[in-house]
Symmetry: C2
Subunit: 95 residues, 2 copies
């Protein structure tokens, strides 16, 4: 692996895992409160464009880290709707 690829992988490792604690805390809360599916959805969508850009310039770090980011962001959107649905079921059960 060439130097610049190592640099790119280190950069992406840092920016991807810097957000991990927040993400885990949010998923542990098992509540839609404080989640921002709109931002995650927009981020995920534009990260697909970053993946396409990475393909055009043949940059593995840009491709790999943005694919991971797309998966994480769409997991956040999915988790949000899952928690909202659960909260609705719980509310209706209490009626």
């Amino acid at each position: 692996m060439e130097l610049h690829e190592i640099i790119g992988f280190v950069a992406g490792f840092g920016t991807t895992f810097a957000a991990a604690p927040d993400l885990l805390a949010m998923l542990k809360r098992r509540s839609s409160r404080g989640m921002n599916p709109t931002m995650a959805g927009i981020m995920g969508t534009f990260q697909i464009v970053w993946v396409y850009y990475g393909v055009l310039i043949d940059s593995m770090p840009v491709i790999v880290w943005n694919i991971i980011a797309v998966v994480i962001n769409f997991l956040v959107v999915g988790a949000f709707f899952y928690f909202v649905r659960n909260e609705k079921i719980v509310r209706e059960a209490k009626r």
Copy 2:
């Protein structure tokens, strides 16, 4: 400007401005509550590595958007300490 550069600039525009609403809401609260300076600091540090990677592969979009992201993240860290200092002054004034 070549096609791939346009794609890279569009991608970065989206991922950078997707975070803008959250950032503005946080700054409007004028409180350190809910801010995560550690994540912003780690993100900003690794985005400097992304800038270096962009230089190595001669990618303007990677360079430009990550410089903007570095500035935003270190502004967040600065704003956090500014709000914390203000909150301390207010608390001491109430004693």
